[in-house]
Amino acid sequence: MLGNEAIVRGALEAGVQFASTYPGTPASEIGDTFARIAKRAGVYFEYSTNEKVAFEAAAGAAMSGLRALVSFKQFGLNVASDSIGPVAYVGVDGGLVIAFADDPNGWSSAQTEQDSKCYARMMHIPMLEPSDSQECIDFVKVAFELSEKFKTPVFVRLTTRVDHSRTIVTLGDVVHGGRKANFVKDPQRYFTLPPAIMGLHDKIAEKMENVAAVFETHEMNKVLNAGASRELGVITSGAAFNYVMEAMNDLGVKLPVLKLGTTYPLPEKKIKEFIRGLKSVLVAEELDPVLEKEIEALAKEANPKLQIFGKLGRDGRKCLPLAGEYNTELLEKAIAAAAGKKLDFDYDAHAKKFASITSTIPRRFPVLCPGCPHRSTFYAVKRAAGNDAVFAGDIGCYMLGIFPPFETQDFVFSMGAGEGVAHGIKKANTTTGGQQKVIAFVGDSTFFHAGIPALLNMVYNKSNPIVVVMDNRITAMTGHQPNPGVGITGMGDPAEPVKVEDIAAACGVRHVKVVDPYNMHELETVVKEFLKLDEVSVIVAKRRCYLLDYRDKRKAGSVPTFEIAGELTFEEIKNLKEYSCPAYNPDGKGGLKIDESMCWGCASCGQLCKPGTIRPKMKK
């Protein structure tokens, strides 16, 4: 079972009744799995407009006595964090579990390689870290129990490799929650204004001491190979545990291992007991050295002479990197260094040899699908605005515009940030006599998520970038989840779709135009016209994600493919290369040909050539 599916399974075995999310890879399949089973399982599930709202919804359910689970990726945790802290202070009645995913290596995160372990410390919320799918099930069940016992939200911290690994699980029984929600008014409890806030701060710290006492003896924290060596031990958590076990096996060494399933609060007594009899310890945790620093502090009391190997590098004992995902090779090297052993495989020489054969191979960056409406939008907007215009980027499939030949995402930060920063650039420019053109790209889901306040800000503070909402009628990048523009809920029920153009108008934007991005000529004309305005304007480039259209077409029958009839002119070749549809390949004679297996029959490339040049492929 996939780690993300196992989170849902654990919640079902714990009697969850309410689940919410905003999709974000690597955590997306948690919500998608709920969406598939919610009705059958008698669970309420929603795709909320953003992670803060998703958390608040789950908090409301938990405050009313239901067990609730909210999930998102690490950046979503940032978005939700504003509300999580106060809820932790007053506590919840029904279990509230926050499952989130960090992403070492940034497989699905192009902005930072954030380590969210510190959130637990900042907010005084217990944090559990499963290493595989079985632990995802088991730990979520424990998280619900802890949450109700201590009336606190509980974090379950995942990483990409746990989310996206399939491992064997043993299933328990699904439990039907069956509780009736009822919010009990309690002004005493929910009143947090100072001086109450200080009392709550003390109380929550005390609560964590009580949680720590439970963690001291909990089976989530366990010692393997106890007493196997007095020279070296390993303390590890999460995915790193798996690499430690493999590495020991491959090196043929057996070391005592303390596996921490709870990384906040730490079972300090257990750690002290583990390090007391050891000469040295290797701390194996991915990303920031949070555990390593705390273990260092504990060693001062328990074993001042303890040598700590890890990523801090004190006294030349740095053997693991700060950045990047761990793997077995890294742990093999680290354990070999700490134990003074020799590796039987020269990974560095192997990597060098590999680099020598791959340095010249062509790059394959992810590309927009054939037929993607974003391609047409980028092409037309860039033609109208030129290369010098500032193109503010945002989060979605259109991030791929960062790559050549488009280069229409000059920066990408966080959900909705393209509009916010575009406003700042434009305002800074106009107030100091500048003339830079600024165009912000934002997807429909991102617009609903965090783009609306930024647009409102532009209108009210009289800024004038063009905002191009790339409305492909779905949240595509994370796996086609519905958003408020789609007209279907997380439960699969119909809802009234919200129109981007209506919201833009309601925000006070006076120049709003809806354009079909396949009509590149019109789009180009509108951009040119709007660039002359001295107030903010919005173009809604509206066309459904072509991957969905293509799937529908294939289900309904065959999809036509296209071919090039006759000779392309030099200009046409240049334009088609800039359009960079993946179905176009070099023909080996300086021209282009269409790879039939990649052509999805959208025919949009026909607009870049004289009529009749691109025609449906004749059946032989």
Binding site: R166, Y243, R364, F365, L368, M598
Partner: protein
Amino acid sequence: MEKKSSKSEGNAKEFNVAIVGVGGQGILTLAEVVTAAAFKQGYDVRMSELHGLSQRGGSVPCQMRFGQRIYSSLVKAGHADLVISLEPLEALRAAKLGSAEKTVFITNTHKVVPVSVTALGEKYPELGEIKAKLKGFSKQVIDVDATGITERETGSAVTSNIYMLGIASARGLIPIKRELILEAIKESVPEKYFEMNRKIFELAK
């Protein structure tokens, strides 16, 4: 550590597989089939897959490991037993997983030309060049025209992934019983396509 020969359907102590290619080539499905079949045979098995943006026409790697007791789902550099590549260039990109001592590459010869070649003038290497470069990272490289053969046999290349696995199975390059692989295929593909997949799997020699 002594590892049992992969030239059998018997139980291996540890077997490492990577399946690579380009988004849309059915890599994830194939990886699910191998993982499910390994599970049916009684192995401990772990599989790693990446989702999201990487699927949009980019390189997609899936890895799975099975044996007596498996902790990590990731194959170590130089330690793959079998690499199935649905696309020649991606075989090269996965070469790091292979070594001359033990790795067999099964490579589809059908090129999917990246946009960097079409639009930016980067050069797609000749198949012979790819094969030569793979030499230092493989015990054996098996080229198959999986796309061409499946297109001829079924009118579409969607089963080329299963054809590749068929080659591995028929030549004893993966220690999983054939009937268990077929069972796993049956459970992974839509019912109406099972016959086509079975035919292709059995056709591969």
